[in-house]
Protein backbone atom coordinates (compact mmCIF):
# COMPACT_ATOMS: atom_id res chain seq x y z
CA UNK A 1 0.00 0.00 0.00
CA UNK A 2 2.76 2.46 0.96
CA UNK A 3 4.42 2.17 -2.44
CA UNK A 4 1.21 3.29 -4.18
CA UNK A 5 0.97 6.40 -2.05
CA UNK A 6 0.96 9.45 -4.36
CA UNK A 7 3.36 12.34 -3.71
CA UNK A 8 1.39 14.88 -1.66
CA UNK A 9 2.88 17.93 -3.36
CA UNK A 10 2.27 16.59 -6.86
CA UNK A 11 -1.27 15.49 -6.09
CA UNK A 12 -2.13 18.85 -4.55
CA UNK A 13 -0.65 20.67 -7.52
CA UNK A 14 -2.77 18.51 -9.82
CA UNK A 15 -5.90 19.30 -7.77
CA UNK A 16 -5.14 23.03 -8.06
CA UNK A 17 -4.59 22.75 -11.81
CA UNK A 18 -7.69 20.70 -12.58
CA UNK A 19 -9.87 22.72 -10.18
CA UNK A 20 -8.77 25.96 -11.81
CA UNK A 21 -9.62 24.56 -15.25
CA UNK A 22 -13.06 23.65 -13.92
CA UNK A 23 -13.58 27.10 -12.29
CA UNK A 24 -12.61 28.96 -15.42
CA UNK A 25 -14.79 26.73 -17.61
CA UNK A 26 -17.71 27.28 -15.22
CA UNK A 27 -17.52 31.05 -15.79
CA UNK A 28 -17.24 30.56 -19.55
CA UNK A 29 -20.27 28.25 -19.58
CA UNK A 30 -22.34 30.76 -17.59
CA UNK A 31 -22.25 33.10 -20.59
CA UNK A 32 -21.91 30.36 -23.30
CA UNK A 33 -24.31 27.68 -22.00
CA UNK A 34 -24.57 25.84 -25.35
CA UNK A 35 -20.85 25.55 -26.14
CA UNK A 36 -20.28 21.82 -26.84
CA UNK A 37 -16.52 21.95 -26.55
CA UNK A 38 -16.68 23.68 -23.17
CA UNK A 39 -19.32 21.21 -21.93
CA UNK A 40 -17.08 18.28 -22.85
CA UNK A 41 -14.04 19.89 -21.26
CA UNK A 42 -16.03 20.60 -18.09
CA UNK A 43 -17.09 16.97 -17.84
CA UNK A 44 -13.51 15.78 -18.28
CA UNK A 45 -12.19 18.18 -15.61
CA UNK A 46 -14.98 17.31 -13.21
CA UNK A 47 -14.31 13.56 -13.26
CA UNK A 48 -10.53 14.07 -12.91
CA UNK A 49 -11.04 16.49 -10.05
CA UNK A 50 -13.43 14.19 -8.18
CA UNK A 51 -11.01 11.29 -8.50
CA UNK A 52 -8.05 13.41 -7.29
CA UNK A 53 -10.00 14.82 -4.32
CA UNK A 54 -10.97 11.31 -3.21
CA UNK A 55 -7.39 10.09 -3.55
CA UNK A 56 -6.05 13.08 -1.59
CA UNK A 57 -8.57 12.54 1.21
CA UNK A 58 -7.61 8.88 1.48
CA UNK A 59 -3.91 9.56 2.10
CA UNK A 60 -3.66 13.11 3.40
CA UNK A 61 -7.03 14.12 4.84
CA UNK A 62 -10.07 15.77 3.27
CA UNK A 63 -9.93 19.07 1.34
CA UNK A 64 -13.73 19.11 0.97
CA UNK A 65 -16.39 18.13 3.46
CA UNK A 66 -17.83 15.67 0.93
CA UNK A 67 -14.59 13.67 0.89
CA UNK A 68 -14.29 13.54 4.69
CA UNK A 69 -14.42 9.81 5.48
CA UNK A 70 -15.27 8.90 9.08
CA UNK A 71 -16.01 5.21 8.50
CA UNK A 72 -12.67 3.82 9.70
CA UNK A 73 -11.59 6.38 12.25
CA UNK A 74 -12.57 7.52 15.72
CA UNK A 75 -11.55 11.13 15.23
CA UNK A 76 -12.53 14.11 13.11
CA UNK A 77 -9.69 14.62 10.63
CA UNK A 78 -11.05 17.81 9.01
CA UNK A 79 -9.32 19.94 11.68
CA UNK A 80 -6.09 17.92 11.84
CA UNK A 81 -4.27 18.90 8.67
CA UNK A 82 -2.96 22.48 8.48
CA UNK A 83 -5.21 25.24 7.12
CA UNK A 84 -4.29 26.64 3.70
CA UNK A 85 -2.53 29.80 4.97
CA UNK A 86 -0.44 27.87 7.52
CA UNK A 87 2.92 26.20 7.07
CA UNK A 88 2.44 22.82 5.43
CA UNK A 89 -1.06 23.87 4.32
CA UNK A 90 -2.45 23.80 0.83
Amino acid sequence: MAENRPCRKDLLHWINVISFAMNDTTLFLDTHPHNREALEFFEECQSKRNRALKEYAKYYGPLTIDTADVSETDRWNWINEPWPWQEGGC
Binding site: N16, L27, I65
Partner: protein, 200 residues
Protein backbone atom coordinates in the same frame (compact mmCIF):
# COMPACT_ATOMS: atom_id res chain seq x y z
CA UNK B 1 -25.18 28.02 0.68
CA UNK B 2 -21.45 27.54 0.46
CA UNK B 3 -18.99 24.76 1.25
CA UNK B 4 -15.41 25.43 2.30
CA UNK B 5 -12.57 23.87 0.35
CA UNK B 6 -9.42 23.51 2.41
CA UNK B 7 -6.93 24.84 -0.14
CA UNK B 8 -6.13 28.18 -1.75
CA UNK B 9 -7.25 28.72 -5.34
CA UNK B 10 -3.61 29.61 -6.01
CA UNK B 11 -0.87 28.58 -3.54
CA UNK B 12 0.88 31.15 -1.30
CA UNK B 13 4.26 30.21 0.19
CA UNK B 14 6.14 33.30 1.41
CA UNK B 15 9.35 32.73 3.39
CA UNK B 16 10.48 36.37 3.92
CA UNK B 17 8.32 38.67 6.04
CA UNK B 18 7.74 42.25 4.86
CA UNK B 19 5.29 44.22 7.05
CA UNK B 20 5.65 47.37 4.96
CA UNK B 21 4.47 45.55 1.85
CA UNK B 22 1.70 43.81 3.84
CA UNK B 23 0.26 47.23 4.69
CA UNK B 24 -0.04 48.00 0.98
CA UNK B 25 -1.41 44.59 -0.08
CA UNK B 26 -4.08 44.62 2.67
CA UNK B 27 -5.92 47.15 0.47
CA UNK B 28 -6.94 44.27 -1.78
CA UNK B 29 -8.63 42.68 1.27
CA UNK B 30 -10.58 45.66 2.62
CA UNK B 31 -9.76 48.64 0.40
CA UNK B 32 -12.06 50.46 -2.06
CA UNK B 33 -11.25 48.09 -4.96
CA UNK B 34 -10.49 45.01 -2.86
CA UNK B 35 -11.77 41.44 -2.96
CA UNK B 36 -14.21 41.75 -0.04
CA UNK B 37 -16.05 44.57 -1.78
CA UNK B 38 -15.89 42.68 -5.08
CA UNK B 39 -17.50 39.59 -3.58
CA UNK B 40 -20.20 41.56 -1.72
CA UNK B 41 -20.98 43.61 -4.85
CA UNK B 42 -21.70 40.58 -7.07
CA UNK B 43 -23.36 38.48 -4.40
CA UNK B 44 -25.65 41.42 -3.52
CA UNK B 45 -26.54 42.33 -7.10
CA UNK B 46 -27.52 38.82 -8.21
CA UNK B 47 -30.93 38.64 -6.48
CA UNK B 48 -32.61 41.13 -8.78
CA UNK B 49 -30.78 40.09 -11.96
CA UNK B 50 -33.51 38.82 -14.34
CA UNK B 51 -31.34 36.81 -16.78
CA UNK B 52 -30.10 33.35 -15.78
CA UNK B 53 -26.71 33.55 -17.52
CA UNK B 54 -25.95 36.77 -15.66
CA UNK B 55 -27.27 35.54 -12.30
CA UNK B 56 -24.93 32.55 -12.72
CA UNK B 57 -21.98 34.78 -13.59
CA UNK B 58 -22.59 37.04 -10.56
CA UNK B 59 -22.88 34.01 -8.27
CA UNK B 60 -19.78 32.23 -9.58
CA UNK B 61 -17.57 35.32 -9.87
CA UNK B 62 -18.75 36.47 -6.41
CA UNK B 63 -17.77 33.05 -5.06
CA UNK B 64 -14.35 33.20 -6.73
CA UNK B 65 -13.79 36.62 -5.14
CA UNK B 66 -14.14 34.96 -1.73
CA UNK B 67 -11.31 32.64 -2.74
CA UNK B 68 -9.28 35.70 -3.80
CA UNK B 69 -9.94 37.38 -0.46
CA UNK B 70 -8.47 34.27 1.17
CA UNK B 71 -5.36 34.44 -1.06
CA UNK B 72 -4.81 38.13 -0.20
CA UNK B 73 -5.26 37.39 3.52
CA UNK B 74 -2.80 34.46 3.30
CA UNK B 75 -0.24 36.81 1.69
CA UNK B 76 -0.69 39.46 4.40
CA UNK B 77 -0.62 36.82 7.15
CA UNK B 78 2.61 35.28 5.88
CA UNK B 79 4.24 38.69 5.32
CA UNK B 80 3.61 39.61 8.99
CA UNK B 81 4.24 36.28 10.70
CA UNK B 82 6.36 36.17 13.90
CA UNK B 83 7.31 39.86 13.76
CA UNK B 84 9.36 41.28 16.63
CA UNK B 85 8.38 44.61 18.27
CA UNK B 86 11.50 46.15 16.67
CA UNK B 87 10.48 45.01 13.16
CA UNK B 88 6.97 46.33 13.78
CA UNK B 89 8.26 49.74 14.79
CA UNK B 90 10.86 50.03 12.04
CA UNK B 91 8.41 49.12 9.25
CA UNK B 92 5.63 51.49 10.28
CA UNK B 93 3.36 48.51 11.00
CA UNK B 94 2.90 49.83 14.56
CA UNK B 95 -0.25 51.78 13.72
CA UNK B 96 -2.03 48.66 12.49
CA UNK B 97 -0.52 46.42 15.17
CA UNK B 98 -1.76 48.51 18.07
CA UNK B 99 -5.40 47.82 17.11
CA UNK B 100 -5.17 44.35 15.54
CA UNK B 101 -1.88 42.74 16.71
CA UNK B 102 -1.12 40.38 13.77
CA UNK B 103 -4.76 39.59 12.96
CA UNK B 104 -6.43 40.24 9.61
CA UNK B 105 -8.94 43.10 9.53
CA UNK B 106 -10.45 44.56 6.35
CA UNK B 107 -9.08 48.04 5.76
CA UNK B 108 -7.44 50.01 2.95
CA UNK B 109 -3.71 50.68 2.80
CA UNK B 110 -4.45 54.12 4.20
CA UNK B 111 -6.18 52.62 7.25
CA UNK B 112 -9.77 53.36 6.20
CA UNK B 113 -12.12 50.58 7.42
CA UNK B 114 -13.87 48.48 4.78
CA UNK B 115 -17.22 49.94 3.79
CA UNK B 116 -20.14 48.95 1.56
CA UNK B 117 -20.11 52.56 0.32
CA UNK B 118 -17.28 51.46 -2.01
CA UNK B 119 -19.78 49.61 -4.23
CA UNK B 120 -23.29 49.82 -5.63
CA UNK B 121 -26.10 47.34 -5.98
CA UNK B 122 -28.43 49.46 -8.09
CA UNK B 123 -31.11 47.04 -9.22
CA UNK B 124 -30.76 47.95 -12.90
CA UNK B 125 -28.92 45.28 -14.95
CA UNK B 126 -27.17 47.74 -17.32
CA UNK B 127 -26.06 49.95 -14.46
CA UNK B 128 -24.89 47.05 -12.28
CA UNK B 129 -22.86 45.45 -15.08
CA UNK B 130 -21.14 48.72 -15.94
CA UNK B 131 -20.29 48.99 -12.23
CA UNK B 132 -18.91 45.43 -12.32
CA UNK B 133 -16.77 45.98 -15.41
CA UNK B 134 -15.34 49.17 -13.90
CA UNK B 135 -14.68 47.34 -10.63
CA UNK B 136 -12.64 44.65 -12.36
CA UNK B 137 -10.52 47.30 -14.10
CA UNK B 138 -10.00 49.23 -10.84
CA UNK B 139 -8.84 46.04 -9.13
CA UNK B 140 -6.55 45.27 -12.08
CA UNK B 141 -4.95 48.74 -11.76
CA UNK B 142 -4.49 48.21 -8.01
CA UNK B 143 -2.68 44.91 -8.66
CA UNK B 144 -0.52 46.67 -11.28
CA UNK B 145 0.31 49.33 -8.67
CA UNK B 146 1.16 46.64 -6.11
CA UNK B 147 3.37 44.76 -8.61
CA UNK B 148 5.53 47.87 -9.11
CA UNK B 149 6.37 47.75 -5.40
CA UNK B 150 6.95 43.99 -5.10
CA UNK B 151 10.49 42.65 -5.49
CA UNK B 152 9.93 39.21 -3.94
CA UNK B 153 8.89 36.59 -6.57
CA UNK B 154 7.08 34.58 -3.86
CA UNK B 155 4.71 37.56 -3.44
CA UNK B 156 4.57 38.65 -7.10
CA UNK B 157 3.50 35.20 -8.32
CA UNK B 158 0.08 34.97 -6.57
CA UNK B 159 -0.52 38.72 -7.17
CA UNK B 160 -0.05 38.14 -10.92
CA UNK B 161 -2.59 35.30 -10.77
CA UNK B 162 -5.12 37.61 -9.10
CA UNK B 163 -4.46 40.34 -11.66
CA UNK B 164 -5.09 37.93 -14.53
CA UNK B 165 -8.44 36.89 -13.02
CA UNK B 166 -9.65 40.52 -13.05
CA UNK B 167 -9.23 40.50 -16.81
CA UNK B 168 -11.16 37.24 -17.23
CA UNK B 169 -13.98 38.52 -15.00
CA UNK B 170 -14.10 41.76 -16.99
CA UNK B 171 -14.55 39.66 -20.14
CA UNK B 172 -17.40 37.61 -18.59
CA UNK B 173 -19.18 40.77 -17.39
CA UNK B 174 -18.82 42.25 -20.87
CA UNK B 175 -20.54 39.17 -22.28
CA UNK B 176 -23.18 39.49 -19.56
CA UNK B 177 -23.90 43.06 -20.62
CA UNK B 178 -24.33 41.89 -24.21
CA UNK B 179 -26.78 39.19 -23.03
CA UNK B 180 -28.77 41.82 -21.11
CA UNK B 181 -28.88 44.15 -24.12
CA UNK B 182 -30.01 41.28 -26.38
CA UNK B 183 -33.16 41.10 -24.24
CA UNK B 184 -33.84 44.82 -24.55
CA UNK B 185 -35.03 47.23 -27.20
CA UNK B 186 -31.95 48.14 -29.27
CA UNK B 187 -33.55 51.47 -30.27
CA UNK B 188 -33.60 52.50 -26.61
CA UNK B 189 -31.84 50.26 -24.08
CA UNK B 190 -33.15 52.49 -21.29
CA UNK B 191 -36.82 52.36 -22.25
CA UNK B 192 -37.55 50.29 -19.14
CA UNK B 193 -35.69 48.58 -16.30
CA UNK B 194 -36.14 44.80 -16.77
CA UNK B 195 -35.45 44.27 -13.04
CA UNK B 196 -38.38 46.52 -12.11
CA UNK B 197 -40.79 47.51 -14.84
CA UNK B 198 -41.66 44.03 -16.13
CA UNK B 199 -42.44 42.36 -12.83
CA UNK B 200 -40.09 39.56 -13.93
Amino acid sequence: MWNYEKRLQYPVKITQTNPRLAQVIISQFGGPDGELGASMRYLSQRYTMPYKEVTGTLTDVGTEELAHLEIVCAIVYQLTKNLTPEEIERSGFDKYYVDHTLALWPQSAGGVPWSSTTFQSKGDPITDLHEDMAAEQKARTTYDNILRLVKDPEVADPIRFLRAREIVHYQRFGESLRIVQDHLDSRNFYAFNPAFDLGK
